[in-house]
C-alpha cells in the first residue's frame, strides 16, 4: 500500500467526494467520445462533430452516424465490460493480476469464435447468432474450468490463477491449431479475433453489447456489498453469512457473459480489464457500490483513448486496437507485478 494511494483515498473519504470523482470521469468520457468521433482518415472539427450529432445524417453526418459513432460507442461499451469483468475477477479470486484476458476466458471466447468460422457453416447456423453463441459458450467453459480446477487445487488465490494460465495456454494452442488447419479466407477472419478490432461494429452489435453491459452490471450491482465483504477474505465473507462458492459462480457466469459478447464483436482486447480496476481502486477505495461504476468508467475511458491513439499513430492504417492496448498496458502490468513483489 503506497502512501500516495492512501493520501488520495483519504481526501476522497466521503461518499459525496467519491461520487463527484465518478461524475468527473463521466465528463472525461464524454470528451473522449467526441475526440474519438472527430479522429480518423477524414479529420473533423469538434463543431462539425457536434453539428452532425445534433443534425442527423447529412454532409459529415454520414461519416459520424454510419462509421464513427458506432465504433466509438462500441469502444465505450467493450471497455466498460472489460473493466467490470476484471474488477469482479480480481475481487472474487483475491488476485490483483486476474482479468478475463490473463485467465483464459477471452482466449476461450476467441477460440469459440474461430471454431465457428472454420466449422460453423457445417452446423447450419447463421453467423449473426452462431458466432456470438459459440464465443459465449467457450467463455463459459473457460470460466467454469477456472473455478473447478482452482477449487480442486485448494481454492486459494494462486490456484485459480494457475488454472487460468493453464487454460490460456490451452486455448491459445487450440487457436493455433485452427489457424494451421484453416483455409486462407477463414484465416484472415480468425486473425481479426486474435488482435481485436472495433471496425466491424454495426449498430446491431453496438446495441447488443450495451444491452449485455447494462444487464450484467445491474445484476452485479445487487451483489455490491457482498463483493465488498468478499474483498476482506473468503472466511470473513462466510462469517457475514455469504455463501462464497455460490457468489463466485454467479460472478464468473456474468464475467463470462460480458467477455464472451465483447470478444464475439471486437475480438480479444487485453490489459484494459487488468488496469481499469486498479485505477478505480486507487481513487475510490474498496466500496464496490462505487467500484463497479468506477471500473466501468475507467475501462471505457481507457479503450476510448486507445482508439483515438490508434488513429493518430496510423491515420489511414487502422491498427487493431488490441495491439494498442497491449503496448500501453504491458508497462502497467509490469508495474503491478513489481509493486506486488515489494509487498503491499
Amino acid at each position: 500500500m503506497s502512501t500516495l494511494t492512501l493520501a488520495l483515498t483519504g481526501r476522497w473519504q466521503s461518499w459525496l467526494g467519491r461520487s463527484g470523482l465518478l461524475l468527473l470521469a463521466a465528463l472525461l468520457l464524454a470528451g473522449s467520445l467526441l475526440l474519438d468521433i472527430a479522429s480518423g482518415p477524414a479529420q473533423l472539427s469538434m463543431t462539425q462533430v457536434l453539428h452532425s450529432l445534433l443534425q442527423g445524417e447529412g454532409g459529415d453526418g454520414v461519416i459520424v452516424w454510419q462509421i464513427r459513432l458506432p465504433v466509438a460507442l462500441m469502444a465505450l461499451a467493450v471497455g466498460a465490460a472489460l473493466g467490470v469483468s476484471g474488477l469482479v475477477m480480481q475481487t472474487v479470486l483475491h488476485n490483483p493480476l486476474a482479468s478475463s484476458y490473463t485467465l483464459g476466458i477471452s482466449a476461450g471466447a476467441g477460440f469459440g469464435a474461430a471454431l465457428f468460422i472454420v466449422a460453423g457453416s457445417s452446423l447450419g447456423l447463421a453467423e449473426a447468432w452462431g458466432l456470438p453463441l459459440c464465443a459465449l459458450g467457450f467463455a463459459f467453459v473457460a470460466g467454469s474450468a477456472v473455478l473447478l480446477i482452482g477449487r480442486h487445487r485448494g481454492g486459494n488465490a494462486e490456484s485459480y490463477v494457475l488454472a487460468g494460465i493453464a487454460l490460456l495456454f490451452l486455448f491459445q494452442a487450440l487457436l493455433s491449431l485452427l489457424q494451421y488447419l484453416a483455409a486462407p479466407d477463414a484465416l484472415a477472419q480468425i486473425v481479426f479475433w486474435l488482435f481485436g478490432s472495433l471496425y466491424k461494429s454495426g449498430w446491431h452489435a453496438v446495441g447488443l453489447m450495451w444491452l449485455t453491459l447494462l444487464l450484467a452490471c445491474g445484476v452485479l450491482a445487487r451483489d455490491a456489498w457482498r463483493f465488498t465483504a468478499l474483498s476482506l477474505s473468503d472466511e470473513r465473507a462466510a462469517s457475514l453469512g455469504i455463501t462464497v462458492s455460490r457468489l463466485r459462480w454467479r460472478a464468473l457466469a456474468l464475467v463470462s457473459l460480458l467477455t464472451g459478447v465483447a470478444v464475439a464483436f471486437v475480438g480479444t482486447i487485453g490489459f484494459v480489464g487488468l488496469i481499469a480496476p486498479h485505477m478505480a481502486r486507487m481513487l475510490l477505495g474498496e466500496d464496490h457500490r462505487l467500484l463497479i461504476p468506477g471500473a466501468a468508467l475507467s475501462g471505457a475511458l481507457l479503450l476510448s483513448l486507445a482508439s483515438v491513439l490508434g488513429k493518430w499513430l496510423s491515420p489511414g492504417g487502422l491498427i487493431p486496437i488490441g495491439i494498442v492496448t497491449a503496448l500501453i498496458g504491458l508497462p502497467f502490468f509490469l508495474l503491478l507485478i513489481l509493486r506486488r513483489k515489494g509487498g503491499q
Binding site: T9, Q13, T228, L232, S239, G241
Partner: protein, 258 residues
C-alpha cells in the same frame, strides 16, 4: 442452551470430530472450548457456523433448523474466525457496517451508520473509525471485527481465539467487553481460548476437546482442574489460588510443601 448430540464431522475422508455429546451453559453465559492444537476446536466452531456438513444434531431454541443452513451462517449466529491479517483498505466503520450485510442497500441509512459508530465507540475505537483497516494494529483489527460480529445482534456468538493477537491490557479489555455484552444482550458465547487463566476467569462452562473427542465438559470450576488439564495437554499443569479466589494455572509440577 446449545445441545450437540452425537455430532461427527469428516474432512477430506478423515473423521475429525467423533460423536460429540455436549451441552453449553444458558443464554447470557460464556462457554469456553479448550484443547491442544489440532484437536478440532476450530472445526467444531466452523460446524456450528454452518460451514461444514455433519452427522448428528445441533439444537438451539433460536435456530431449530440448523441442518438446512449447510454452507451458510445461520441467521442468529455470529462467527468471528481467527484473524487472517486482512490488508483491506476499507475503513473501520465500513467493516463494522458489513455486519448488517443482509439489510445493506445502495443507500445506507444514517441510523445504521450511527449504530456502527456507536458499536466502535463501545469498544473505545472511535478515534480510528475512519482509518483503513490495513493501518490498524492487529489488536485494533480484532476489535473492529468483534464490533462487526455484534452488529449482527446474534443469539449465539462464536469466537475463535479472540485475544490471540492482543497484549495483556487489550486482552482484559476485550474479554471484559465480551463478558459484558454476553450478559447485556443475553447471548450464548462460545469461545476458543488458549489462555487457561482467562478461560477460568471469564467462562462459566467449559468443554475440553482431545483428538476430536470430549475429554470432559461441565461447569468451569469443576472441569478446569490440574489433573484434567495435565491430561488434556500432555504436560504437567498445577494451580494456586489467587487473591480473588480464582485458580491460577501454571506449567510445571506443584512444589511439594516441605
Amino acid at each position: 442452551m446449545l445441545q450437540l448430540t452425537q455430532l461427527s464431522v469428516r474432512l477430506a475422508g478423515q473423521t475429525v470430530l467423533h460423536g460429540l455429546d455436549l451441552a453449553s451453559g444458558p443464554q447470557g453465559s460464556i462457554t469456553c472450548l479448550l484443547g491442544p492444537n489440532g484437536c478440532g476446536k476450530s472445526t467444531l466452531l466452523r460446524t456450528l457456523a454452518g460451514q461444514l456438513a455433519y452427522a448428528g444434531s445441533i439444537r438451539h431454541a433460536s435456530q431449530p433448523d440448523w441442518q438446512h443452513h449447510h454452507g451458510t451462517l445461520p441467521a442468529k449466529v455470529a462467527w468471528l474466525p481467527q484473524d487472517c491479517g486482512s490488508n483491506s483498505r476499507l475503513s473501520a466503520v465500513e467493516v463494522v457496517l458489513l455486519g448488517k450485510l443482509q439489510t445493506l442497500g445502495w443507500r445506507v441509512p444514517e441510523s445504521l451508520q450511527q449504530q456502527a459508530r456507536q458499536q466502535l465507540a463501545q469498544l473505545g475505537l472511535s478515534a480510528v473509525a475512519q482509518q483503513p483497516l490495513c493501518q490498524l494494529s492487529g489488536g485494533q483489527r480484532q476489535m473492529v471485527f468483534l464490533a462487526q460480529a455484534l452488529m449482527r445482534e446474534p443469539s449465539i456468538l462464536l469466537l475463535d481465539e479472540p485475544i490471540s493477537a492482543l497484549d495483556l491490557q487489550h486482552q482484559q479489555q476485550v474479554l471484559a467487553l465480551i463478558e459484558q455484552q454476553t450478559r447485556q444482550r443475553n447471548m450464548l458465547t462460545i469461545m476458543v481460548l488458549h489462555d487457561l487463566n482467562a478461560a477460568r476467569r471469564y467462562s462459566q462452562h467449559c468443554w475440553l476437546l482431545q483428538q476430536g473427542r470430549v475429554l470432559a465438559a461441565g461447569a468451569t470450576a469443576e472441569v478446569m482442574t490440574p489433573a484434567l488439564l495435565s491430561q488434556l495437554y500432555h504436560t504437567p499443569i498445577s494451580s494456586i489460588t489467587a487473591d480473588d479466589g480464582f485458580a491460577l494455572f501454571y506449567h510445571g509440577r506443584h512444589a511439594q510443601p516441605a
